[in-house]
Symmetry: C2
Subunit: 346 residues, 2 copies
């Protein structure tokens, strides 16, 4: 299978998307990979697989690569003798953060009818926003970490007990996130968060809470990963967290009992189906007094969470053959015809 890795984007996570994309070379070994880079100005480039090193991008060398135009059905290189389509079977959306996770890439792929692996528009818009993620989970009967929502121009007080964690609603990773241990420090944390977003959620900071990650997708059947208990640090800073994006070796399964594993899997399935069909996503759960609470959705996890799957590459192939189809809408101008005949114009 020929897989086009779409990466980069106008995103705070542009650089780690490059890291994720490079990692795919080690992970998707049987596939032929085509690399489609979205630079910071949102121009598309076709990058040779051999050139896939971080320096190619940081040095600006990529600008000598072939520039592409997205049109109906795919990406095209314009040349002296017309337009030549880049050949591939499917796009794998690996743009983390803005553009990739906020629904723009999903919209572009759907509009131009390019087959793609990624959350679709609604799934993106809801999961890119931590507040809407809460609404979604609650509506599906999945419990969430308690929260309060503050707006840039609104009140700056909370009723939660300290310590709390302050998060901008629309950013991935830990950007703009602060743990606040006492009331006096709230204002500064809000200033930081409001630098990045007009909305923040404040949650209790659950010290020592157990965290478990579950990734998966639905092909013709459910394909769920092992459950991982991620490495424990208070919270990971940008750099540490993003060494994650180059992970390609298998991890150990968390030692939890079957009942808890089943609860985690059921929560994942409720969130995934049907909204996230067509994607491989990861949910991060907290477990508190036997309750499974959704912490975050990672709609496009670092290196696609490949390290959690036994059989990642074959799964991607199966998913490529089981994508949700957009409904075909017939447009036959019957309404306009009927008006025209009523007016005697037909």
């Amino acid at each position: 299978m020929k897989i086009a890795i779409l990466f980069g984007g106008s995103s705070y996570e542009h650089e780690i998307s490059i890291v994720s994309a490079i990692t795919m070379k080690k992970v998707l070994k049987k596939s032929t990979l085509v690399y489609l880079f979205v630079d910071k100005d949102r121009d598309f480039y076709l990058v040779d697989s051999e050139a896939m090193k971080s320096k190619h991008f940081s040095s600006g060398d990529y600008k000598k690569d072939k520039k592409l135009t997205l049109k109906k059905g795919g990406f095209f290189a314009e040349g002296m003798f017309g337009s030549k389509e880049v050949a591939f079977d499917i796009v794998l959306n690996l743009i983390h953060g803005r553009d990739g996770e906020d629904g723009k890439i999903a919209s572009l792929m759907e509009f131009y009818e390019v087959p793609f692996i990624s959350p679709r528009i609604e799934a993106s818009a809801l999961s890119y926003n931590k507040l809407y993620t809460k609404f979604l989970a609650e509506s599906l009967g999945v419990e969430v970490v308690p929260y309060e929502h503050l707006s840039k121009n609104g009140k700056r007080s909370i009723t939660l007990d300290y310590p709390v964690i302050v998060k901008p609603v629309r950013l991935g990773s830990s950007i703009g996130v602060t743990i606040v241990r006492e009331k006096e420090a709230l204002d500064y944390a809000l200033d930081v968060a409001f630098e990045f977003d007009n909305d923040v959620v404040v949650e209790p900071f659950l010290d020592g809470v157990k965290e478990y990650n579950q990734a998966g997708c639905k092909t013709d059947v459910w394909e769920l990963s092992i459950v991982e208990e991620p490495q424990k640090e208070e919270f990971l800073d940008f750099e540490k967290k993003y060494l994650d994006f180059s992970r390609d070796s298998k991890v150990m399964e968390a030692t939890i009992d079957d009942l808890l594993r089943e609860k985690i899997r059921e929560s994942f399935k409720k969130i995934y189906d049907p909204l996230f069909l067509g994607s491989v996503m990861r949910c991060d759960f907290f477990v508190l007094e036997d309750k499974v609470l959704l912490n975050e959705i990672n709609p496009i996890p670092g290196s696609m969470a490949n390290y959690l799957f036994e059989d990642f590459e074959d799964m991607i192939w199966r998913l490529a053959k089981n994508l949700p189809k957009e409904k075909k809408i017939m447009i036959d101008y019957s309404y306009i015809h009927s008006i025209q005949s009523a007016k005697g114009k037909a």
Copy 2:
């Protein structure tokens, strides 16, 4: 001001988008209009203002018009001597239903950095879906008509008293909507609705309820329309409802007291700001025992609800100068540089 009217789309409301677009000629008299048509295959065409008659589209004549490509900054006609940009100041998104209201057009315009009047991606994704509209309104403290949510593969029973109204969650207008007067008729109504969508909402059918429409936008100040009490019919079928899309003459203001008008306006503002900045939208409210309940959001109302405004064209000009700006993200490869120097490669 030069305004590009973007209309058509792969949508059940394709034809009435054409009607809306033609109406703009009568409404935006001082502006220079450029017509950008999205045909059912999602190809873009530049349509001459003189050719803006419904038959131009129903006959397929538009296919002789200049085909356009969307690229960074705008729409381009490709010719023998390179690519020529279509000149305009702003796009007015007039695609009703899919493509226009579901976030695709907003995504395309944002990605390619074309200034546009329309709800942005999140506002689109939430208001295109009647279930998510409920979540949104409730989270903002705006009451909604009570509802139950049913999924295609889930249970088919409800607890609401009859009569009820069954609506597919993702379609505009009255497509797939049925009033159900008794239990025995529910199954058939659900079959109809599930033809169009995998999710439906069921609401009490509120006979004789008062309905009021409020449109508006925020430029540098609030610009709210008059409140209209729309023409009362049980519910409007597709054809009748869509004669609405050619409306261009002013309507009478509803005779309501100041307190109620104020409640309606406050509810509108809560929903609009900040999510719908950059758009002119319309909210349809029910009033029941002095309570104002949101019935529906019309993110791109028929003919832009121009008939509700005193000063529609000037308002559009002011809005064009007060659009929300996408945050500029600096990408300087500092992360990759720091990894490279750690590895001794820099």
